[in-house]
Structure formats: C-alpha cells, structure tokens
Symmetry: C2
Amino acid sequence: MRILGIDPGSRATGYGLIEKQGNRLRHLDNGVILTGGEAPLSERLGIIYRDLGGVIDRYAPTVMAVEQIFLARNALSALKLGHARGVALLAGIHHELPVFEYTALQVKSAVVGYGRADKAQIQAMVRVLLALPEIAQEDASDALAVAICHAHSAGMNQRLAQAGKR
Amino acid sequence: MRILGIDPGSRATGYGLIEKQGNRLRHLDNGVILTGGEAPLSERLGIIYRDLGGVIDRYAPTVMAVEQIFLARNALSALKLGHARGVALLAGIHHELPVFEYTALQVKSAVVGYGRADKAQIQAMVRVLLALPEIAQEDASDALAVAICHAHSAGMNQRLAQAGKR
C-alpha cells in the first residue's frame, strides 16, 4: 500500500509519500508545494491542484490521508485553509484515491504514542520511523505523520478484519 | 459579456448567469447545486466542481464573479465554506475564466443601492432588475446579485477607461 499524506495550506502544502510493506514503512518522497503569497487565491489553488496531481501521477499512491480539522486560529484563517484543503481533496477524488481523514489527536498518538506531543517531537519521530537522513520541513513532516497514521490504522483494521474471520 | 455569479456552500451552491448588452442586463439561468449533507465532504466537493463545470460548458460565460468573504459565523463553518469556495474558484480557473471577487457591501450597494439591505430586499431587487417571473431561491438569487455587481463594476471600469482615452 502506497500512502500520500497531505498537509494543506494556502501558502504551503506539504506532501509525504510512504510505502507500507507488511509492518514496515518505507519513505518514498516528501516536499512542500509553495504557492507564494503574492498571487491571487484562485491562481494559488490552481497551483496546489496541478502540483498535487503531478505528485499523484508520479508515485501512483493507493490512498490519500489528510488531517481533519476542527479548530483554527480564527474564521479567516479557517476560510483560507478550507480553500486549499478543498482543492487537495478534489485532486485525490479526481485521481480516484480513497480519502481518509484523521484528527490531530489520532496523528500524534500514531506517531509519538500520545496526543499531546509537540511539533518538534513529531518531526523527530517521523524522522526515526522513516529513517530519514534529516528532519523534514515542518509541512512535509506533518504530511508524512498523517500518512504514518493511516498506515497504522490500516494495519489495525486489517488485523480486526482477520480476527473477525476466525 | 456573459457573467456567471456563484454563491458557494458545502451543501448548496447557487449559480446565476446573466448577459450584459450595453446597459441592459438579461437573465439566462439560475439554480442551486445541492450536494446533500450525507455524502463525505470530498464527494460533495466533486459534485460542486463537476456541476459548475457543466454550467460553464453549457453557457460559456466570459467571467466568474464570487462574493469575497471576511466574516463567518465561526471557524468550523468558515472551513466548510472555504472547501466549497476553493473548488468553485478552481472550476473557473480550469475553464480559463477570469475570477472577480466582491465584498457583500459592494454587492448590496450595486443591487439595492445601499450596503445594509436585508436578504428579502436583495431578492426582490434581483427579481426586478432581471425581470424574473418570480423570486429566485436564496442561494441562486445571491449568485445573480454578485453577477449584477460585476456587470455594474465592469460598466464603470469601461467608462473610466474611455474617459482616460480622451
């Protein structure tokens, strides 16, 4: 299973690709799509959609995982984030990827083992879990974290399904 | 000039098409894209993008006009609205439509003549200005209102440009 994790934002959208083989996770790629703050919002959305489409074409992931958001600093930042997140979800749908959403609590628990981990702890654990040569950029690391969360959940669901068959 | 006005929402996205010929406005069509509240958000976004694309293909508008939003009831509703709005803007960009944004104040001033008009007044004025047989549904009427706002602004910009040439 090849998982594309996404951390959307109107200025910077992180992505991270991992491969799950049995219980092992392998890092494939990560990066940040920068849209620049100068261009009109609609153009920036076009860039996010196009570049995510390029990443999907290149790596052919089987699923997309995105953090589910309940809180935002304020309504305006939530609105901007929503634009970017909507376009990212659409890129997944248009490439026929099933889209999974995880709360920040689920992501932190999956990566660090408890839900109150701070950003630096998550970045460090993502590095360790995927044997990265160095710590990934914050947005890319967050995207890898949600991909790892999906890998763990998928493993759990598979074990539950097998247990159900017995 | 053929103008597509949009009033995006994650459950209901209004659209309105008008044609501006000189100083006259002609109504072409209006409607509401209902996505249902049951489907996952990513599917609903797919419906908005697909159906707006269908409307654009059918009527070949020359521009898209959308209300610019500064305020929302709360961060969660802003986030949901942002998803739908981002996908609507992307539909415009992908059809190579220039996208114009207007504040609620600009829309109300253009349609009713003052910025504190209430919803019923706007719906009634949209009906009068476009000679509709009856009042349009609220989301569709709001979409027509932003299209009318663009028609007025475009007329103003043209007159300013002509004045500049003298």
